[in-house]
Symmetry: C2
Amino acid sequence: MDETLFDFRRFSSRKITVRGHLHPIEVGMREVRMQNGGTTVLYDTTGPYSVEGFKPDIAKGLPRLREAWHPAGREFHTQMWYAKQGMITPEMEYVAIRENMGRCENNKITPQIVRDDIAAGRAIIPCNRRHPEAEPMIIGNRYLVKINANIGNSKLGSGIDEEVEKALWSVRWGADTVMDLSTGENIHAIREVILRNTPVPIGTVPLYQALEKAGGKAENLTWELYYQTLVEQCEQGVDYFTIHAGILQKHLPAALGRTTGIVSRGGSVMAKWMKLNNEENFLYTHFDEICQLLARYDVAFSLGDGLRPGSIADANDAAQFGELDVLGELARKAWKYDVQVMIEGPGHVPMDKIAENMTRQVKACDGAPFYTLGPLVTDIGAGYDHVTAAIGGAMIGWLGTSMLCYVTTKEHLSLPNRDDVREGVVTFKIAAHAADLAKGHPGAAELDLQMSRARYDFRWADQFNLSFDPDRARKFHHEMIPNRDADHCSMCGPDFCAMKITKSIG
Amino acid sequence: MDETLFDFRRFSSRKITVRGHLHPIEVGMREVRMQNGGTTVLYDTTGPYSVEGFKPDIAKGLPRLREAWHPAGREFHTQMWYAKQGMITPEMEYVAIRENMGRCENNKITPQIVRDDIAAGRAIIPCNRRHPEAEPMIIGNRYLVKINANIGNSKLGSGIDEEVEKALWSVRWGADTVMDLSTGENIHAIREVILRNTPVPIGTVPLYQALEKAGGKAENLTWELYYQTLVEQCEQGVDYFTIHAGILQKHLPAALGRTTGIVSRGGSVMAKWMKLNNEENFLYTHFDEICQLLARYDVAFSLGDGLRPGSIADANDAAQFGELDVLGELARKAWKYDVQVMIEGPGHVPMDKIAENMTRQVKACDGAPFYTLGPLVTDIGAGYDHVTAAIGGAMIGWLGTSMLCYVTTKEHLSLPNRDDVREGVVTFKIAAHAADLAKGHPGAAELDLQMSRARYDFRWADQFNLSFDPDRARKFHHEMIPNRDADHCSMCGPDFCAMKITKSIG
């Protein structure tokens, strides 16, 4: 493995831990040492990799952090079950501490607030008990907007090493969860290495592996084959499943008449299966069994929007919103089994139609967290779709979406490589942070203030260290300037720095 | 000069012209030949460079297109003067044809609509009579959202060749206007080569050159020196001037107490001058004389927001909005002299505070076009500020802003190079188009529809040619796929393309 993956020394920062009061937990954060003598604490997704002296061993995997919290032999329940009983789990306390980043003294997130949100279905902590390597994190409207990075190979490229490297690389840059969407060779093996070595929750679309088992043919797909795959992935430790149980026979005429039809891989496979068999979606008809299985591991649902619009022309149409209503019905059913749920959202949506997506989702799904792919605010951004999606993502995050799935520059064109993953993750960290700011998250504005003070003081290292991609910021700054500690940069030069002139007025 | 600058052959497109009915004008557009036999017409900023057989000669300059429209000897008036008389100039007809892109049959922009908007101050056509090489374009809320690319050297780098190349490179990728913000060596010479060779309006901040003449010292700056510089630049052909006439003595206490003070270069220089001389801003006290001068050339005002917020903490504060009210007062005064006006806007603004900027600007400035720098929706995007600014830019464009000044990845860090200019321009073309879409501009949605149909048909070349950066899209697509005409891409591979599966259902 590339040893620079988790080299944080350049960041002038160190890993610190904050202890729990209710449980014997230690929550990791990153403390940046500032040039003015102060410190700033940042949310950190890198787990043990950034702990000083930690020696990664991919073959062995990460320490099994959460195993000690749940002694074997004790009966297992989901986070939602505990929350409904009024109990605060170690996971709940962990995420409460984590969200405050050691600096939200006012308007603090408490373990009680977390518990109440989990009980009501307003937030989830995806944490399969078979994935104890993952650090707990929370997804919900009240919390920091999270981002997911999709990785995974296709038949046309990439193997185990590349995909594991992409997974670690994405948490290195701040991905809060990682979805392994592999559809090519070695799906099980790739996932195993990722699960054992990644400190964030892992999501999958089990249908992809089931379809591989069915020889790639929708007609060979059966409920039994799918269920076996679910069990296999539950056992392996996947933390949340995208399940396209909301796309039904009645939606197909509208969906097939669209400008771009069905653009969800899972949605299109289930549509084909329904057509071939002239039967209702088996994910819908067997939904109770799926709930029962997921409850045994505390795997969360990410109810897939198989009918998300793939073009501006299809945004907010009857197919999309028809499926959304079904997703709400399924969320309520899952909650009866104490299974945690989030709802997936679009897709391609022009800016003027974004708000309707959020209001309808809240209403149809009783406040279950929304998890969107962008939305991309135009169809014509080929090569720059990280931007079209960051625009829509920032907006819908502000309006209440809890997690944004990143989109890379390669969207619609090709499988992303490691550089694309980094650019996609950082772009979406920025979009999510812009949403936190606009929502008035208590800890968010503090970061901007620290950055702006560093800027006004020409503390360059602090500016780099407080940004999401310190390496890039440092490189750009250093490129053209001879004196790297100067009270100006090469954009304006020594005589035209407005901040320098302002300060000379006194 | 790099010969690839204006090589459009790769785009499968040709330059077409549409003739005027009222005047002997020919408006250039780009026609893309589609794989399905159709054509799509795109707005084009590249002027003669993309005309087949055109041989660029930088020493000679571009043909003087607009000279024939305004015979010498006829008394000169501004576009606004003509509009107020009820007359339609060649420029007005030109932009009306250009805005329709040969495809807005409904809800068409007519020369009469253009004239009425110009007369009312709701739109401007920046077109100094000394810059006949520029093709007319219109900036106003009703029209396609435009983008400006800033170029220009600093004391720390770049010479004539680099800056001219950046100017041409930016129109190559779609910049609607270019601002030459040079503050280093050879300001006059750089501007001359740019003006004679660029087919779009050129803006400047004359204060930069005046300050250079004053030996870089605000204390040596005088109204006379500034006025000489204005005359020099009017004569040379600059189409619009950023003039920081709205920042007054009364604003300074609030401005100097901010988190990041004054971040406008022009604003900080005028603030320093006012403090040193204990006098009111000479750009404000001599504003009538400036209007009289600009009217003689039809140079447009871009009234500078010297007090734009440079940090989230300073957004929408008393200093910013106090200056905005003065800009409105000055706009009304300029209109009395028939001088065209646009108003510059922020800056750093969180998403939840963007709408207030637009509503206040419309009210304070009686509907004069708004021209914003972003806004950047967070301070912590170092290295990715093209994205933080594209998010805010798309939003404020949707809400009514007429032109977006691009921000590059190097913002706050360094002077952009040619690659940064390209990435900045394309990112902002996308943001502007997303705004057009959301505003319901009649021609905008058509492009997305063409792109999505091409996508659903796997017409790859059409997808590349309809995007703002065909070269990048093509490169990304070709990287990993053996069969470049395949009915899938390397992202999903042959078995998991949702659109392919959907179509197989039939």
